[in-house]
Every structure is written in structure tokens, then in C-alpha cells.
């Protein structure tokens, strides 16, 4: 943590960055997003097991500084979003100063202490606890005992269901949706100025929180993220009615890997899955 503060102070003092998007402590152990603009602010920066938020979401939401880079404290997993944003012309690598910690997993429930049973599901299959893309890094990797990945089991369970069981499963989930669009707002890759759900003419998606409207919204959002979702699971976390959104997103990410050998947010240079094609793409399903 001292390292982080030193890095931050240096960056702010030298004017390398205009501000740093990081985490600060809140009540109990919880950490919250925090924007450090001064050296005093830098003192408040922390990185703990509770630093859950994917802060790359702020790259699009906070006004770009007139001069200097944007400092971003970003875990290896969330860094994929930064890569994707660069791939999709939303950010420039040279505009961001990436401070990426070596991460020892984060909590699933932010109000409870970190322990073996309180580890975010995205951490369970994490391959990037040590980041590969950064301007500065800090911390040490420790061995973490991980619980089993229940999400992947659930995906398999849903896959094994009959068509009508699947439909029932999702209907029960989507029925709860209140169309608050928190999933979209928390998503670093939902950066459109006007989401299609807000497009009035023509109406793409029923704006009412009817079951049909909810299906349409969640379906189209998942489709727009197919091959793009980097699996930070922020949507899942912020959903006020606990819809397992990352189940769907992860399923589609797995498909992107199995079908196209594509992992979103891996490389800035790599062509995106959507928007490109290979002559050899599978077409068994086409008559």
C-alpha cells in the first residue's frame, strides 16, 4: 500500500497524471472508487481484497483532463477492459498511466471479510493476478486457496437443461429485472452515449419492465457483449435484484474461446472478434 501511495504521489507531483482513479477506504473494510487529484488525496489511496470495482469504467465517464494522463489503478482482470477500450478506439494507451497491482483476489460480498469462502467468482479462474500490461505495478503475489468455481458448474447445469427448463430458469430471473440499467452503467464496455434501449425511434427494446421487455433488454445486452465481455462481473455485482448476468456473459465468452479462439481484452493489437471474420469460421449450422 505504501508503494501505491508513493507511486501516486510521484505521478501527481510530477504532473505525469492529472488525477488517479483508485480506491479509498470506506466504512469497515469496504473500499470505494476515489479520484485522487492532489498529493493529500494520494495518501488516501488503498488497494485491498475489497477493491472490487472495475475502475476502467471511469475512463469514459469522467472528463478527460486538459493535460496529463489519467492514472488508473486497475487489477489484471479489469485491465482487459482497458485493452478492449483501446481496441475499440475509446481510449488511447498513451493517455492512461496504468498502475496495476499484483492482486491476491477480491471479495465476493464487500460487506464481509475476505476469506476462502468470500472470493469473487471471477477470481477463481483468474490468469492475470500478475498483470502483463502496466506502467507501474506493486504488491506481491501470495498463494490463495480458492473454493470451487460454482458459476461454471451452473453454466453446465443450464446447458444440460431442456429448452423449456432453460426458458423457465431465465424467465424467473428476468422477471425480477426493474430496468434500472445499473448493469449497463457499471459496465466498462457499455460506453455508448445513447444506449439502444434509449433509442426512441425506432424502439429497439420495450422500455417497460415487462417480462418481454426484460428478456429483450438482457438478451440484446448480452449479445452486444458477446465476444467483447472481459468478465469483470460488475453487472452481476451491481444488479439490485441479483440476476446472474455474468452467467450469460461468461457462457458467451466461453463460446468465443471454443469457437473462435478469442479471449476479449487480451491484446491491443489483436483484431476484435466482432468486426472481423475468418474464411474458415464454422458454418455447420448453416444449411
Amino acid at each position: 500500500m505504501a508503494e501505491l501511495k508513493e507511486i501516486a504521489k510521484e505521478l501527481l507531483t510530477s504532473g505525469t497524471v492529472a488525477y488517479i482513479i483508485g480506491y479509498a477506504s470506506e466504512k469497515n473494510d469496504k473500499t470505494v472508487p476515489f479520484i485522487a487529484r492532489t498529493v493529500e488525496d494520494a495518501e488516501k489511496l488503498v488497494f485491498t481484497h475489497h477493491s472490487v470495482n472495475n475502475l476502467s469504467v471511469y475512463l469514459k465517464r469522467i472528463k478527460k483532463p486538459e493535460s496529463g494522463k489519467v492514472g488508473l489503478v486497475v487489477k489484471g482482470c479489469d485491465l482487459k477492459a482497458v485493452v478492449a477500450l483501446i481496441q475499440e478506439s475509446q481510449s488511447k494507451r498513451e493517455d492512461i498511466y496504468i498502475i496495476s497491482p499484483k492482486c491476491n483476489t477480491v471479495v465476493s460480498d464487500n460487506t464481509k471479510p475476505w476469506n476462502k469462502d468470500n472470493i469473487a467468482s471471477k477470481c477463481l479462474s483468474c490468469e492475470v493476478r500478475t498483470p502483463s500490461l502496466f506502467d507501474a505495478t506493486f504488491g506481491e503475489i501470495e498463494t490463495v486457496e480458492l473454493p470451487s468455481d460454482e458459476q461454471i458448474e451452473l453454466i453446465k447445469k443450464v446447458e444440460a437443461m431442456s429448452t423449456s427448463e432453460k426458458w423457465e430458469f431465465w424467465k424467473n430471473e428476468f422477471e425480477k429485472c426493474v430496468k434500472c440499467y445499473a448493469c449497463r452503467q457499471a459496465c466498462p464496455l457499455c460506453y455508448c452515449d445513447q444506449c439502444i434501449v434509449d433509442k426512441a425511434s425506432p424502439r429497439w427494446i420495450d422500455s417497460s419492465a415487462t417480462v418481454q421487455g426484460n428478456f429483450a433488454w438482457n438478451m440484446i445486452r448480452a449479445f452486444h457483449l458477446s465476444g467483447r465481455c472481459i468478465g469483470c462481473e460488475e453487472c452481476n455485482r451491481v444488479c439490485p435484484v441479483d440476476i446472474p448476468l455474468s452467467l450469460l456473459n461468461r457462457k458467451m465468452s466461453m463460446f468465443a474461446v471454443s469457437e473462435y479462439d478469442y479471449k476479449a481484452g487480451t491484446s491491443i493489437e489483436e483484431p476484435t472478434l466482432v468486426g472481423t471474420y475468418k474464411l474458415t469460421d464454422n458454418e455447420d449450422f448453416i444449411k
Binding site: 475499440e88 478506439s89 475509446q90 452515449d193 439502444i196 425511434s201
Partner: protein
């Protein structure tokens, strides 16, 4: 909006299996439909008049015609409606013949389907916007890139039709590879003799602006309206002042520092030179890399001897901007240099043939120079190493061609013919010589081609051996050629005096770069891609850019010339009208919602999506959004489907139109 529905019976064609009266009646109750009627032949004059009359009587805003496929009569009805004051794009066709009456026998269900299709068309037309065809003025001025025989032919054809042409050639002279050839197959007439008059014609043509030693640097715009930047490289000689007397060349002291490109490295040329005596234009160029003045700051002999003060050592490259309506790409080919694999090249090369290592192993073009009366040996067969007449000569075909493992998968098409020609030329010059040809198989499709090859074998006695050469090596002043006669199944060794390799025709190295500048696709070998392999062989996929000659694929002279003329014809068609009209089905960006993810740009096959900077009043950049160049957009709509925020929409097939159709189809 008031809509008229017109159901055509098409005689019995529709009327027999669709209850047109019933359909027209039920369509009358669709909200928005003011009038609905049927008629025997809607496309006939009385039928069209019926439509026009109904428009006038009911004050209709839009029209749906239920008839045959839109591919048949959409234009007819658009015109008719337009005649009655309705925008042609407020006409929709419901296809109830090909898609209903001709394929269904059951009248009730067919009629139901017809009604559905009409309802769908009605709903679509409610969301149609009046459109005007895009009218683009045509700049009647063509650019031909490449001054080989294809470029010359295309330029002359277009110029002779009365249009201005800018011909750009990167070398100091036009003429291309054909000017290097000694004789041409299958007639064995002198290449220079038939080419030179055409070169001169180009030079003297009042409609052709010839820019040699120049390269295309940038192309903006679209069909009919290109803006082309051309870099005119510094020649160090002022074109207008030079009279081509050649004194400078004669007096240049730097005589042996540069190999002649034209002679394929088999002779030297001075620092100031014209590539060959018949060069057009006959204006020398200074090769600054070898010129003494540029190296030491001293010399200037050429300047001194030039009576016309045409030497300008300080000359700089100039950039010319040309307004162009159509472009013919005739950049030709080069021969595959097999010396060593080039760095970064996927091709392994043919080290085993010793090219570059053994002086007496030469390639086809070098042989052409050797056989040419104006060449370094004045047409005599003299092998490079010692100038002796080669008594035994081996020709190896398919070096690089048809060899996926080491070279190129394609057949270079001309090698069989020119090797036969080489063997004949050799035999004509060295009567007691022996000519061996290693071949894979002989491809001699073409008028008089097969006869030509047979003549080489039967009359001139070239010995054809079917098989590959595995190795070459030098021994006692001979090139030992080891190969196999696969027909006889025996290994063969020939102690040759000289070996000629028929190396593959490959794309110009700069071709991909040029293709990118032009925004046209090219294949993995670097050849420019045609729009359709059969039906659009001279069009590139970008409107107004055409292909000619070997830039597209290996070709021989007659084929290149015909393709050039075809491309010229396409240009002339384009130039035959002042205004280019096209359907306004193009993509359009809503800049207020575009976030600039540029997925549209990624999926656009036509490079029609550009980046546009949005700035505020103070010139501060607010955002970068997509911009569709309507000249380039072909209207496929892939961008529309890909855009996450639906900020790109395809006019004529907007989402609201399609949604309305979907809803209407599934009604009831």
C-alpha cells in the same frame, strides 16, 4: 400518410391462384390505406395510368404495388408514381407472383400470404422517406497508373474517345516490360517495333498528360470525383528545356557505377541516362545515388555540356494534384528474383538453382535482353561469364510458379510460351546449339499458341524434358543440370553452357501499398482483386477504379491489351454522362449518438467509413465519429447491423422500416 394498394392479376399468372379481388378488399382495411384496387395488368400503360389516376384522385402519399418480383418492375412503378408526383422511393413492391401465385396452388392460403406481404409492404412504406437519387458530377478525366502496354493501351483508348488522361509511370520511361522483350510469341515479331509507335502516340497525344518518373501518393474521393496526389520525382533535368540531344549522357564520366535496369543488370549505364534509346519521353534522369556531383559536390559536366541549361541539380520532388473521374490500375508485374529469400518473405527461394551465384544462370528477361538486337550483346548469344556462345542451353520452367511449398500456388501463364520462344530464338541464332526445356506440363491455350510450341519442338528441335531440376552446379566452366525425365523415368544430367530460368510473374512489390491508397482489395500474392471473377473482371470493388493487365493476375500481351481496352470502355461508359446517378441506399451516421467505436469501419468492405472530427466553436476536439463517404458506400448495411448504438443506418432499409415489416407480417 395516405397509401394506395394496387394488386396486379398479371393476367392469369397471379389471378389464378390468388383471389386478387378479395386481397384488394381486405387490404383496404389496413390502417393508412386510402384506396385498394386490382387490375389485370398493372404494368401495362392502362395499369400504370390507373395508379397515376388513383394518386391524383385520392391525394396519395405512397404506393404499394402487389405484383411480380421487384427485380422485374420496381423501376416501372417508381417511374409511374413519380409521374404522378410521388417520390419514387415511396413505392414498395409486394412480390405476389414469384413468391406466391407461381409457387402455391391453394387459393385461400396463397391469398392470405399475399395479404400479409402487402401489409408488410404498406407498413414499410409508411416508414419510407422520400429520397433523391444521389447525383454525383463526373470529372471526365482518367488516371492510368502504369505505363506498360496495358496502361498505354488504356490511355490511348480513353484519349481517343476524347477524354483527358493522366498517365503515371514510376520509371523514367513508359514501355514497361514489353519494351524489354526481343520478339513476341506466337508471331515472333519485334516487340519494340510494335510498341514504340504506340509509346510515341501517347507522348504526342493532346489529351494525354504523361507523368513519368512519378508515383501516385494519395487518392481521396470516390467514383467520378477522385482527388489524386502524384509525386513527380526529381529528375534533375528540366523536362520542358531538354531536347533529348543526349550530350549529357555521352559526356557523363560516371559510366560504370550503375547497372542498367533496362538491361536487367547485364550492362552499365551512366549516372545521367535514359533507360533505353527509344525511351518516351526521351529525357534523361540523374541517378543521384551514383552521380559524382551529388557525392562530392564537384563535376557538373552534364550541366556544362547542356546547351539548353536543362540540368537542375537542385530540383526537388513536386506534388501534383489532379482531379480525376476514373482510375485504371495497370501496374503490371515483376519477375520473381530467386536469388535468396527476401527478408520477411514467406517464399523460400530457389537457392539450388544458383541464380546470382553462377553468372551463366539467368532469368527470362535477361535472356530477352540477350536475344534483343538492341541489347547488351547486340542480339548475339554470349554467355555472361566469358562471352562465349553457349552451345548447350537449359531452360527450366515453373520456377516459383505452381509451387505451393516454396513459391506461389498459381500458374504464371506466360512461361510455357516464352520459354518455347526462347528455345526457338536460341536455335535461330545458334544453329548447332542444343536447347533443353524442363517443364511440368505445357500450357499453350491461346490462338496459335499450341502450334507455336509444336514448331519449337518439331521444326527448331528444342528438346522438351518433362521433369523438375533438382540441382545445378558449376564444374569446369559448365553448369551441370541434374534432373529427372519423369516420362522416361530416368535421371538426367546435362552439362549446359547456360541456364535460363522461367521465374514466376509476381505482383509489384508496391502493389499492396497502392491498393491501400486506392482502397481496393488485393489477394495474398499482392495482385489486385477484381470485383467479380466472371462478370466484373475489370472492375475493382471500388466504383470508378478499374484493373488492366498483369496487376490483376499473370497475363500475356494480347490478354493485357484486351483487358486494358475493356477497362477503357468502362471508363468511357462512366464518362458518357455528366452526372452519375445511383440509388440513395447508403449508410448514414447519426453523429449525435455515434461514439466512434469504428466497428462500422472494420466491417466495411469498401473503405467507405472514415473518421470525422467533431469540434466545438473554439476548434476543440469533442469527439471522433464515423463518417460514410457516400461515393464509396455500396449500401450493404453490414455497418448498420454491427453498430452497437445503431448510429449508422442504411437509408431505404432503416431499422424502423424492417421492424414495421416484421410486426406487420406476424399480425393476426
Amino acid at each position: 400518410m395516405k397509401i394506395g394498394v394496387f394488386v396486379c392479376q398479371c393476367g392469369e399468372n397471379i389471378g389464378k391462384t390468388v383471389d386478387c379481388v378479395g386481397v384488394a378488399k381486405s387490404c383496404a382495411s389496413i390502417p393508412g390505406v386510402a384506396v385498394s384496387m386490382e387490375y389485370k395488368y398493372m404494368c401495362s400503360d392502362p395499369g400504370q395510368n390507373l395508379v397515376k389516376q388513383a394518386i391524383a384522385d385520392n391525394g396519395l402519399d405512397a404506393v404499394v404495388v402487389a405484383a411480380c418480383s421487384p427485380h422485374m418492375h420496381e423501376k416501372t412503378f417508381r417511374k409511374a408514381a413519380n409521374g404522378a408526383g410521388i417520390n419514387p422511393f415511396l413505392v414498395e413492391i409486394a412480390n405476389i407472383r414469384e413468391h406466391v401465385s407461381w409457387i402455391h396452388d391453394d387459393v385461400p392460403s396463397g391469398s392470405l400470404k399475399a395479404t400479409d406481404l402487402i401489409r408488410s409492404a404498406v407498413e414499410k412504406v409508411k416508414n419510407n422517406a422520400p429520397l433523391t437519387t444521389i447525383k454525383v458530377p463526373v470529372t471526365k478525366r482518367a488516371l492510368v497508373i502504369g505505363g506498360g502496354i496495358s496502361g498505354i493501351q488504356a490511355a490511348l483508348d480513353i484519349a481517343n474517345a476524347g477524354y483527358e488522361v493522366v498517365l503515371v509511370e514510376k520509371e523514367p520511361s513508359i514501355g514497361g516490360h514489353m519494351s524489354q522483350l526481343s520478339e513476341t510469341f506466337p508471331t515472333l515479331d519485334c516487340s519494340q517495333c510494335i510498341l514504340t509507335p504506340r509509346m510515341v502516340e501517347v507522348y504526342q497525344h493532346p489529351k494525354i498528360k504523361l507523368l513519368t518518373y512519378s508515383e501516385v501518393e494519395a487518392v481521396d474521393g470516390f467514383i467520378g470525383n477522385f482527388k489524386v496526389k502524384i509525386r513527380k520525382k526529381a529528375r534533375s533535368v528540366i523536362d520542358e528545356d531538354c531536347n533529348g540531344c543526349g550530350m549529357c549522357i555521352q559526356k557523363c564520366p560516371t559510366k560504370k557505377k550503375a547497372y542498367s535496369e533496362f538491361e536487367e543488370g547485364m550492362a552499365f549505364r551512366p549516372a545521367i541516362y535514359v533507360p533505353f534509346p527509344q525511351a518516351v519521353p526521351n529525357i534523361p534522369v540523374i541517378d543521384r545515388s551514383v552521380c559524382t556531383f551529388y557525392k562530392t559536390g564537384k563535376c557538373k559536366i552534364c550541366e556544362t555540356v547542356c546547351g539548353r541549361k536543362a540540368i537542375d541539380f537542385m530540383q526537388e520532388d513536386t506534388i501534383l494534384e489532379e482531379e480525376i473521374g476514373a482510375i485504371v490500375v495497370a501496374t503490371g508485374f515483376k519477375l520473381y528474383k530467386i536469388t535468396k529469400p527476401e527478408p520477411g518473405s514467406p517464399y523460400e527461394g530457389y537457392g539450388e538453382y544458383g541464380y546470382g551465384e553462377y553468372k551463366d544462370v539467368i532469368d527470362g528477361l535477361q535472356f530477352e535482353r540477350m536475344a534483343s538486337a538492341s541489347g547488351p550483346t547486340a542480339g548475339e548469344m554470349k554467355r555472361p561469364s566469358d562471352g562465349k556462345e553457349p552451345k548447350k542451353i537449359v531452360f527450366i520452367q515453373c520456377v516459383g510458379s505452381r509451387d505451393e511449398s516454396k513459391g506461389f500456388s498459381y500458374c504464371s501463364k506466360i512461361c510455357c510460351m516464352y520459354t518455347a520462344k526462347h528455345a526457338m530464338l536460341y536455335k535461330h541464332k545458334v544453329h548447332d546449339g542444343e536447347a533443353y526445356v524442363f517443364y511440368m506440363d505445357i500450357r499453350s491455350g491461346g490462338k496459335m499458341y499450341e502450334e507455336f510450341v509444336r514448331r519449337g519442338i518439331e521444326e527448331d528441335g528444342a528438346k522438351y524434358i518433362r521433369g523438375r531440376v533438382s540441382r545445378l552446379y558449376e564444374e569446369n566452366g559448365k553448369i551441370i543440370v541434374k534432373g529427372e525425365d519423369t516420362l522416361a523415368g530416368v535421371p538426367i544430367t546435362i552439362d549446359a553452357d547456360m541456364v535460363v530460368l522461367a521465374t514466376a510473374m509476381v505482383a509489384q512489390k508496391e502493389a499492396p501499398k497502392l491498393a491501400q491508397i486506392l482502397g481496393i482489395p488485393y489477394d495474398k500474392h499482392g495482385f489486385m482483386s477484381e470485383s467479380h471473377p466472371k462478370l466484373k473482371p475489370v472492375e475493382s470493388s471500388s466504383g470508378g477504379i478499374f484493373l488492366a493487365g498483369a496487376a490483376n493476375a499473370p497475363k500475356d500481351i494480347p490478354e493485357s491489351v484486351s483487358m486494358a481496352s475493356a477497362a477503357a470502355a468502362k471508363v468511357m461508359i462512366l464518362f458518357s454522362s455528366d452526372i452519375l446517378e445511383r440509388e440513395p441506399v447508403i449508410a448514414q451516421v447519426d453523429e449525435s449518438t455515434c461514439v466512434g467505436c469504428f466497428y462500422c469501419q472494420k466491417v466495411c468492405a469498401y473503405n467507405a467509413v472514415e473518421r470525422k472530427e467533431i469540434k466545438d466553436r473554439n476548434g476543440k476536439l469533442i469527439k471522433v465519429v464515423a463518417y460514410v463517404n457516400e461515393g464509396l458506400c455500396q449500401g450493404c448495411g453490414t455497418c448498420n447491423a454491427t453498430c452497437p448504438s445503431k448510429s449508422v443506418e442504411l437509408i431505404g432499409f432503416k431499422d424502423e422500416q424492417i421492424f414495421a415489416q416484421i410486426c406487420a407480417l406476424n399480425e393476426i
